[in-house]
Amino acid sequence: MSDILHVKDLRISFPSRSGPVEVVRGVSFDLGRERLGIVGESGSGKSQTGRAILGLTPPSGRVTAERLEFDGIDLRGASPATWRKLRGRRMSMVMQDPKFSLNPVMTIGRQIVEAFHRQDNAPKSEAKDRAMVMLESVQIRDPERVYNAYPHELSGGMGQRAMIAMMLITEPDLLIADEPTSALDVTVQLDVLRILDDLVTQRGMGLIFISHDLRLVSSFCDRVLVMYAGRMVEELKASELHNAQHPYTRGLLNCLPQIDGGQRPLPTLRRDPAWLA
């Protein structure tokens, strides 16, 4: 099982009043058909890393890397034509809040079909059938109603499932999930994760799961990457999380409250300015 994504020394900087500021400072990893979790707090650069892989960094940002390769295709400075071939067909992204990430004036069905149509100009009926099949596969019980519904008519969980359906209908090789459950209720979170789990396993995709929730990521992913202030501070297998070396990761682990007691008072994270170097 060969790696599909190679990232080496990825750096992203944005202009600011006091000069360019690097928000991602030298991130490197390789991804095969496995699940990689990227964990970090707000501002750690994890979302920007995900967007850079899809070439969606805002125009004011500068992206450089020693290596940024998907399935042999160099993503650095890729042309719009290259991106058209990759985005939607081979790489996809599920975003955080379906309230904002779905077009409010288009029906769900139309938005899903649009993702499918990008592939080949399949006839309309086939596109609709495929969309219905996808909606069923994300366990939406009444796919006809959801197909004709507008995003604001769906609950958060349903909207996110529709989003997943939309992003997986073209059977991409790589899926980036940027905080896919953060906007959902806890009970719904688990449902959506389970669906994502099944679909990713069935199709043998590579998955990058971006989140601030360490526990969630460690239970869901094979490997975990911990980011702080734009840098990778630790990379390890999820099963070996308890053996984390870096004080930031250890600090995060210690902060997690245990249901059966644990330390009192609850420890908080102590940040060492040395980590910013």
């Binding site: 899809l54 969606l56 719009p80 991106w83 058209r84 071939k85 990759l86 985005r87 939607g88 067909r89 996809s92 992204m93 975003m95 809040d97 904002f100 990430s101 779905l102 077009n103 409010p104 004036v105 288009m106 649009e114 993702a115 990008r118 507008y150 604001h152 008519e153 989003m163 939309m166 992003m167």
Partner: protein, 354 residues
């Protein structure tokens, strides 16, 4: 369970209670505004330093004629009673008689209104046709040369006096270049060969198959409509740019990019469709604004519409006509504002489907 909360618009009657309350509120607001309009024009009428009785009967009338007219005009009654008479008359369409023509004002207005309607409609069509695409272009090429040019063009529209541009337009395009016809709606040669059915000359001439008259009307309409169109284009393009920029910054645009949707589709199908919701409101408001512009434009182009009626009445100190005209324009203005509110409600699916 509140029936005025759109979230609760389910149940047996569906969205009816919610829509009902909303319409009810609108009607009430409009009613009160209309009342206010009448009150303001009534007040203005009473402020006039000119004696309305003298204006009606002339300087040389005898005392008895004067007294009779005084009573007939209701000036002996208390103020609130006068207002009541004014109000009930207005509601039945009786705006009094013009001091000049001695005919009912409402008839005069009905006669001149189609000219303004044709002009303003032509203006808004031009303004939208050019304004929306330019606004989109401006938003997409934000900061670049195209954006700057569109903004400058718009800025001129905000800063130049419309009557001055009209005069310059006549000077250049009519007098010097001869590309368009001069003031007036139609050449005298054609004026009596057309039977006015709707009052909208373009439609009337087309209906009667008089194509050379049609061409002539078009030649006369081109410059003033172009002028009004330019002014509404300035406003519409600016607002389109603003709305498009707001939409293009939304998350669902990123979703569309992730799906690999072509850039032109993202702009014209995704973003514009969302921006269209407030944009239609803006277009309706701009249409209303053209009423204001038409007053000065019609003066410059000798266009026999409502605007010119108003200014003529003004110059002839025909206060009844001025107030009647002001009232009518006010009503239309309120109506268009109302329409734009309703359009917003209808077009936004977040409100519509419930």
């Amino acid at each position: 369970m509140s029936t005025t909360n759109p979230e609760n618009a389910g149940g047996r009657w569906g969205a009816l209670p919610y829509l009902g309350m909303k319409t009810g509120k609108l009607v009430l607001t409009v009613g009160v505004t209309f009342l206010g309009l009448l009150f303001v024009t009534f007040l203005i009428g009473r402020v006039v330093p000119v004696d309305p009785v003298l204006a009606a009967v002339g300087d040389r009338a005898s005392q008895s004629t004067y007294d009779a007219a005084y009573i007939e005009l209701g000036l002996d009654k208390p103020l609130y009673h006068q207002f009541w008479i004014y109000l009930s008359n207005a509601l039945t369409g009786d705006l009094g008689n013009s001091l000049l023509t001695k005919k009912p004002i409402i008839e005069d207005i009905a006669r001149v209104f189609p000219a303004t309607l044709e002009l303003a409609t032509a203006g808004i069509i031009l303004g939208t046709l050019f304004g929306v695409p330019l606004g989109v272009l401006s938003a997409v090429k934000q900061g670049k040369l195209a954006d700057q040019i569109v903004r400058v063009v718009g800025l001129v529209g905000y800063s130049a006096p419309i009557f001055w541009l009209g005069l310059l337009g006549l000077l250049v395009f009519y007098a010097k270049l001869g590309w368009v016809a001069g003031p007036g709606r139609i050449d005298i040669a054609y004026e009596y060969s057309v039977t006015q059915v709707t009052g909208l000359l373009l439609i009337d001439t087309a209906m009667q198959g008089q194509w050379d008259a049609f061409a002539n009307v078009l030649a006369h309409l081109a410059l003033p409509a172009g002028l009004l169109g330019y002014f509404s284009m300035a406003y519409i393009s600016r607002m389109t740019r603003s709305f498009m920029l707001a939409e293009l910054a939304q998350e669902y645009i990123i979703t569309a990019r992730v799906k690999g949707v072509a850039e032109w589709r993202i702009i014209w199908v995704h973003a514009l469709r969302n921006a269209a919701v407030p944009l239609v409101t803006v277009i309706a408001l701009s249409y209303a604004g053209l009423l204001e512009g038409s007053v000065l434009t019609e003066t410059v182009f000798a266009w026999p519409g409502l605007g010119q009626y108003l200014t003529n009445s003004l110059q002839n100190a025909d206060m009844n006509a001025v107030l009647g005209g002001t009232l009518v324009i006010g009503v239309i203005f309120v109506g268009l504002n109302l329409l734009s509110d309703l359009l917003y409600t209808v077009l936004d699916p977040r409100v519509r489907r419930r």
